[in-house]
């Protein structure tokens, strides 16, 4: 019971706050803007073609309704919530008959797949290498690894992805420039291998950055943990080093890492967005890029809202795993 009351309920309340803040921010931003999205969209539409004035009026009314710009601000706000709770993100302005929900529906799977796989790989790699480097700080490989990852870590995601793109699709064209897979989706080796082939570079760009972050943290935590009494005792008891490191030290460093993962999920997601539009990967990032280029505010708004809710939920789920691996929380 105490677990529920002291851990799960507050965390759940926090999740609700995030959703509330997220929806409110996405509601407020377009209204604070000096640019009127309705006029802007209409101007954009009339740039390339002549539209009947009556149709423009009708369109203006539709757009006003769409952005929920009718009525008092409070009414607008309530209506906005109603729409969001129904899961309706409105129509896309650029690719009109499609709704934003459909646009996102097509691309979200790619993003989740790419991000999920990359996080898993980066997590395992960063934890293992970081623990090893923290435990054996003076070997040549741990120093070399640390120096190279420290150099890579601060480099902006975009630069990292772009350099990879230049290197492996232009100068050394071994990876495809664009796309997520070849052929139609099927459970065949051919299709799956093409998915892996297309996803390799975008995943690599996320993995490098995320591994560096995980490595630096794991190494610092392991270095601190290594000076604990229990480690010295285990060493004196001549336990195998591998066992001390992976059974005791790493397990103790796991907790802050899990907390950090749930906090850094937003940044990782941002990295995935960038990787996707750099490599033309058919996920949410590319959808958002297209929306930016077409001035499709509604799609951008929908994607922003969805990513806030999605990341908040994912980080809630990660935090709920916490009691499973921390005996202190479990047995209290």
């Amino acid at each position: 019971m105490t677990l529920l009351k002291e851990f799960i309920l507050p965390r759940f309340a926090q999740w609700l706050i995030v959703i509330f803040v997220g929806v409110t921010i996405t509601f407020i931003i377009p209204r604070l803007s000096p640019v009127n999205p309705v006029t802007e969209t209409l101007a954009r539409m009339q740039m390339y073609q002549n539209i009947d004035p009556e149709a423009v009026q009708a369109m203006r009314a539709t757009l006003l309704d769409l952005y929920g710009l009718e009525g008092s601000v409070l009414e607008q706000y309530v209506n906005f919530w109603k729409r969001v709770l129904k899961g309706d993100l409105g129509p896309s302005l650029a690719s009109f008959p499609l709704s934003v929900n459909q646009l996102i529906g097509v691309s979200i799977g790619w993003t989740i797949g790419l991000l999920g796989t990359s996080i898993l790989i980066a997590w395992t790699l960063g934890m293992t290498l970081g623990s090893l480097a923290g435990y054996y700080p003076n070997r040549w490989w741990s120093e070399g690894l640390e120096k190279s990852l420290i150099t890579v870590y601060p480099v902006p995601y975009y630069i990292l992805a772009f350099v990879l793109l230049m290197a492996f699709t232009f100068y050394l064209p071994i990876f495809p420039l664009i796309g997520g897979a070849r052929g139609t989706a099927a459970f065949t080796w051919e299709y799956i291998s093409s998915v892996l082939y297309h996803g390799f570079l975008p995943a690599l760009s996320i993995v490098i950055g995320a591994t560096a972050h995980r490595f630096i943290m794991a190494k610092a935590l392991t270095t601190t943990e290594k000076s604990s009494d229990y480690v010295q005792y285990a060493q004196m008891a001549a336990l195998p080093q591998r066992k001390i490191l992976f059974y005791y030290v790493t397990r103790n460093t796991l907790l802050p890492q899990v907390t950090d993962l749930s906090l850094s999920l937003g940044a990782l997601f941002g990295g995935a967005l960038i990787a996707e539009f750099v490599f033309g990967y058919p996920g949410i990032g590319t959808t958002m890029y297209t929306a930016i280029n077409n001035g499709d505010y509604n799609a951008i708004m929908g994607i922003t809202l969805l990513s806030i809710v999605g990341i908040a939920t994912a980080s809630l789920l990660i935090d709920l795993i916490y009691p499973l691996i921390d005996p202190r929380v479990r047995y209290r």
Binding site: P37, I150, P156, Y158, I159, I292, I300
Partner: protein
């Protein structure tokens, strides 16, 4: 007095920390490039002042662009603008962070719990989509200053938590009680007694802010969402891509801003790494024992 301490610190860092030596040398190069922008023979928006699309040569060390600008002088402007944007962003972000952190840390109790849970929630929100939404809606109206403002407003939640933790521990110290009992009010205690303790943490933390702000400036510009007429690291890459520099074999147009951005962030990061290592009491202890 304070000056002497600072000088001694820098001397120590230079002597004992390899990463500080490297980092400060890199930052010095970046600083020189920044200062050179004030002596540029061309204005940053002068077009067609040199032959177009020339590869790097003795006359034009970093080549020239498709708009007839000298790559080297353009880069100095870009470094200046990018650092200005991130500098203002860091200043705004840290100011908010310090205020929030001090307030919650010092007041404690219910106020602390409410504000802390709001801060925890804000940390979870992914900032890139939010930035893109704001920038997309402001498109055309975005200036260098408003970008800096925007980045600053979005970058305070994480540091404020760290400052709060610091203030929380300072609040229980003896000197805080002494100050309160001798009649200092809360604001004075926090500003005069606690702020000095935050400054080292603030310095190391400002670098993290710089890294983030530079990355976001580059990302937003590459997406075409910032003020594209002002040269910055991001806009140079944007225009390079826009004119298909890579496909036309004009790599120098892209290589210069990429190399400059990497130099900048690595320099900052190495300096912050050595600073936080220096400030960490545990490593300081081991360093002292090593010196003996």
């Amino acid at each position: 007095m304070a000056n002497d301490v600072l000088r001694a610190t820098i001397r120590d860092l230079f002597r004992f920390s390899l990463s500080f030596r490297f980092g400060s040398i890199i930052l010095m190069i970046v600083g020189i490039l920044l200062l050179l922008s004030f002596f540029s023979p061309f204005e940053s928006d002068d077009r067609r002042v040199v032959p177009r699309n020339k590869p790097p040569s003795q006359e034009f060390i970093l080549g020239t662009t498709g708009t007839g600008q000298d790559g080297f002088w353009l880069l100095t402007f870009a470094i200046r603008n990018t650092l200005m944007v991130s500098g203002v962003a860091v200043l705004i972000g840290r100011t908010i962070a310090v205020m929030v952190g001090m307030l919650t840390g010092y007041l404690g109790g219910k106020t602390d719990r409410v504000i802390s849970s709001i801060v925890d929630s804000i940390i979870v929100i992914p900032r890139l989509p939010l930035l893109i939404l704001i920038a997309a809606i402001l498109q055309g109206e975005m200036t260098v200053l408003s970008l800096a403002l925007l980045l600053g407003i979005l970058d305070w939640a994480h540091p404020s938590k760290r400052y709060r933790a610091m203030i929380l521990s300072l609040r229980e110290r003896e000197f805080t009680h002494t100050a309160i009992f001798s009649g200092m009010n809360a604001v004075k205690v926090v500003v005069q007694e606690h702020l000095p303790f935050l400054i080292p943490l603030l310095l190391a933390d400002a670098v993290a802010g710089f890294l983030w702000a530079i990355g976001m400036e580059v990302t937003l510009s590459v997406l075409g969402l910032s003020d594209l007429s002002t040269p910055s690291i991001g806009t140079l890459i944007f225009w390079g891509n826009y004119h298909h520099a890579l496909l036309r074999g004009r790599v120098w147009i892209l290589a210069a801003p990429i190399a400059a951005s990497v130099l900048m962030v690595v320099g900052f990061y190495l300096v912050s790494l050595s600073l936080s290592e220096y400030l960490d009491p545990r490593t300081r202890l081991s360093r002292l024992t090593m010196e003996e």
